[in-house]
């Protein structure tokens, strides 16, 4: 028997972790091999932060009791993570079209490992966009403390996982590229406006309040702001929840969306 077969790893934990890494590495490799995707990841911050953010700063910055540029930059960083991760998840549709999903699903690994690897891989492009957003922010004269920024960076994989898990619920069921592109808008746009990313939602009520409480982006943004504003006088007017509440809500929503999204995805591939 070949040496390779004899060396086959027995540990289930190792194999699942290895699957997550391999799937993630594939996404990153493909990212670097697709110049278009890389360019889009860097162009997104210019559009989002430079144009939308710049316009908001010029027209909405007065009388809110805190520095709007900084407030918006944190929101934009999280929007980038969610939006680019969600866009990255549409590669599931590409994989379906080239039958690569079959190759993954026939392998003896957990479907969760495949999906988590996919989300973290998509998150790589999101982190590139996040860095781009910071650079555009810097050009616009908005800076964030480096130490606190590193903490937000450390939280970014969790935020990507959260955004990707939510995207899975819809994209995992879709088999056409056009529908997937529409789904990206459907998933990201409401979150952008309802989660308090660029417009404060401290005074929201009714249905909008219910919706923003159901969106993982709300808690991700609030957690990022809690990290960046801790110890500052604006903390009370910018941050809505205790960081522990945010963390627990992100974890709970991520688990719920991940379980549901993975189930729908595996089922839609297998039940024809």
């Amino acid at each position: 028997m070949s040496e390779l077969v004899l060396r086959r790893k027995k540990s289930r934990v190792f194999r699942e972790a290895n699957t997550v890494v391999a799937v993630m590495a594939r996404e990153i490799t493909v990212f670097f091999k697709s110049p278009g995707t890389a360019i889009m990841s860097l162009a997104m911050p210019l559009m989002m932060m430079g144009m939308i953010g710049g316009n908001l700063m010029q027209n909405m910055a007065g009388g809110i009791g805190f520095e709007f540029g900084e407030f918006m930059l944190v929101g934009m960083l999280v929007i980038m993570l969610f939006m680019v991760t969600t866009m990255g998840m549409t590669s599931l549709v590409d994989d379906h079209e080239i039958d690569f999903n079959q190759e993954m699903l026939v392998s003896p690994v957990s479907r969760y490992s495949l999906v988590i690897g996919k989300i973290l891989g998509a998150g790589f492009a999101a982190i590139i966009s996040m860095a781009g957003t910071l650079i555009v922010g810097l050009v616009m004269g908005i800076t964030l403390p480096v130490g606190k920024l590193l903490l937000v960076l450390a939280l970014s994989p969790l935020m990507c996982l959260s955004g990707g898990a939510l995207a899975m619920i819809i994209i995992g069921l879709i088999k056409s590229k056009r529908a997937a592109n529409l789904a990206v808008m459907l998933i990201t746009m409401p979150q952008m406006f309802l989660s308090g990313a660029i417009i404060p939602i401290n005074n929201s009520g009714g249905a909008l309040l219910v919706l923003n409480r159901l969106m993982p982006m709300t808690y991700c943004i609030d957690l990022a702001r809690a990290v960046l504003y801790v110890g500052s006088p604006e903390y009370g007017s910018v941050v809505m929840f205790n960081p522990a509440v945010n963390f627990a809500a992100i974890a709970a929503l991520t688990v719920v969306f991940l379980v549901a999204g993975t189930y729908f995805f595996a089922r839609s591939e297998k039940n024809r």
């Binding site: 799937v23 091999k33 080239i98």
Partner: protein, 313 residues
């Protein structure tokens, strides 16, 4: 020991009026080479998809290597390898990156970001297989730049790298040239001999199934025939002697006198069931042509479909 046990398998696709697979039962023993043949749309790929746990079934029981496909799907996946009917490679990755990805998913080795950093056992195995199928020069090229035949060869390497107990081949030589087909079958024969791999084959090249242990023909989603190739050939077709003589009239008179049926179709064709030697020994006319025609599995397959109706479900 049965490596594949299928009992009363039914699959009806959503919205379909009739099942694509309708009450199929069969078993394949360990180490057997099993051919699952049938016309387009007969239910071959549907069956293979269910057996590889990539498609849900409507009803029935399936066990692979003793594991139930419903309650132990992971163990089933651990035991199998497959070459899908349609290519399932990532065109953006290189050939080697596709194999590395597969090897990692099957727990052969930990992921490393480049081939040079992978364990020597992996590198040796990949290059050994690449040499066997003749794509060693293409291993580091993007898959999208490889020809269809080369992509097929790459899939073959990928399906064999984890040395599966049961290998499902869904039209594996589609798009391959004659030399590649031959080298593939030589390698699969070698793998079977070395590891006792059970092979489940669907193909439209019936000659590839000539040396299998069992043949199963599926038509309209139902098993239409199940036997060895020899049994199938002999139950459907007779062996024939192809004869001719300078004095053809004398030969035909002699055949009539001996009570042997024959047809004249360019040559004189004499079907027989006894031994060819005893039949020839009884002829006195001097022959100018003497050939024995052994029916092939393809002859038997075509004859079978002609008899049973070949239109697909």
């Amino acid at each position: 020991m049965s490596m594949i046990e299928v009992s009363n398998l039914v699959k009806q696709y959503k919205g379909a009026k009739a099942p694509s697979v309708d009450g199929v039962s069969f078993s394949v023993e360990k180490g057997e080479f099993f051919a699952f043949l049938g016309p387009n749309g007969a239910g071959k790929t549907t069956t293979i998809s269910i057996l590889t746990a990539t498609l849900s079934k409507t009803s029935g029981k399936v066990k692979i290597a003793g594991f139930d496909i419903d309650s132990a799907a992971r163990q089933v996946r651990e035991k199998i390898g497959i070459i899908f009917q349609n290519p399932s490679l990532d065109p953006q990755l290189s050939a080697e990156e596709n194999i590395r990805f597969h090897a990692c998913l099957y727990g052969m080795c930990g992921y490393r970001p480049s081939f040079r950093l992978m364990p020597a056992a992996y590198r040796n195995k990949v290059m050994e297989l690449a040499e066997i199928v003749g794509i060693e020069d293409a291993m580091f090229k993007p898959v999208k730049k490889l020809s269809g035949g080369m992509q097929r060869k790459l899939e073959i390497i990928r399906s064999l790298i984890h040395t599966p107990d049961v290998l499902f081949l869904d039209e594996p030589t589609q798009g391959l040239d004659a030399v590649s087909r031959r080298s593939l079958w030589e390698y699969i024969d070698e793998t079977r001999g070395h590891f006792g791999t059970t092979v489940f084959l669907t193909t439209h090249y019936i000659d590839e199934a000539e040396n299998v242990d069992k043949v199963c023909i599926i038509n309209h989603g139902k098993i239409a025939a199940f036997s060895t190739p020899e049994e199938m050939k002999h139950s459907l077709l007779r062996q024939e002697l192809i004869l001719d003589a300078e004095d053809r009239a004398a030969l035909t008179n002699e055949l009539s006198a001996l009570g042997l049926p024959f047809t004249v179709n360019g040559r004189i064709i004499v079907p027989y069931r006894e031994s060819a030697q005893s039949l020839i020994a009884r002829l006195q006319t001097r022959l100018t042509v003497l050939r024995i025609h052994e029916p092939t599995l393809e002859d038997a397959y075509v004859e079978f479909l002609n008899k049973t109706g070949r239109e697909a479900a």
